[in-house]
Symmetry: C2
Subunit: 205 residues, 2 copies
Amino acid sequence: MNVAIIVFDKFTDVDLWLMWDLLNRVRLENWQVRILGDKDSHVSATGISISMHGKIEEANRADAVLFVSGQGTREKMRDENWLKRFNLNPEKQFIGSICSGSLILAALGLLKGKTATTYPTSKIALEGFGVEVVEKPIVVNGNVATAGGCLALQYLCGWTIENLVGQDWRELVLKSVQPVGEGLFFKDVENLIKLYATPTKAKTV
Amino acid sequence: MNVAIIVFDKFTDVDLWLMWDLLNRVRLENWQVRILGDKDSHVSATGISISMHGKIEEANRADAVLFVSGQGTREKMRDENWLKRFNLNPEKQFIGSICSGSLILAALGLLKGKTATTYPTSKIALEGFGVEVVEKPIVVNGNVATAGGCLALQYLCGWTIENLVGQDWRELVLKSVQPVGEGLFFKDVENLIKLYATPTKAKTV
């Protein structure tokens, strides 16, 4: 199982890293998460430079492809040379976005005639693609999901994990990041030890 | 206002980045957040290498000092040479931790005779320092706060922001990351535009 996270310059920091951290809590031998871009490294909205694991074309072979958000989406949604490097298949792949990442899904034609959600500051731009924007944390249409509001990454990653490796992993991963006393409890310690027993398969960058 | 985030090898990715992203949503001219370590760069639990803004001694002059979590805390809580580089003052500084970062606060003598919270897998180790561990997302004693469970970073960063720049910034920052339809709404767009109008003061690393 391969999950591709698509990054570009001026991405929203937490949208990448909450996604990355949650997805890497799945500790299965055949599970791999890779951060992909069109350069060797990309710089976040706050100026953090991060090396990529590979190029965006890899996404065309992934089981799931998730797009981050940020100011950079405004440029990428109009960048025909960048967009045409993707050849995603919503019949075979799970495809999702957080916040303004939905603008890229729309530009790729994946939201045609569908409802979707996005960050409030991207609503008008998404409607410009003819998409009906609804005020929900996650909107799923077939194998395509859009999520809005950074912490809705819990829903988007949960959806991805459940579809690829089942509901038990979804529940264990999401529980592991909840506030203590509000979804995560000291009695959960045995399950957490089980969760962290297998080293992450993440590749060093 | 300077906020220092203390990092070490094998830190939990989301604990740094959710903290960093939330704190950088405060867009005031005199607000700065810096990531500090004892090397030029540190590697996360999943193998992500990140450059530091400066060395840990800077924390001794910061208005707030926040410790991240991760496997690395087990080594650092016993590293006398590292611990003695800190000269923190809970009378003058706000000092906090997320998850197992509480082990470092305890090792620094900041939790003596106090209650605290931590991640479930760190409860026994924290009790080993004579700390009474309670099952709450955040425990505040004077200027020292401990938070448990990654998403309790909302409480820890909210506490930090409120103490340094007031309740309005706390509310605006925390609202900006909530799931759409569950705390963040399309009608909030004007406030979000105001929030993002000022460029972040984050320094490129």
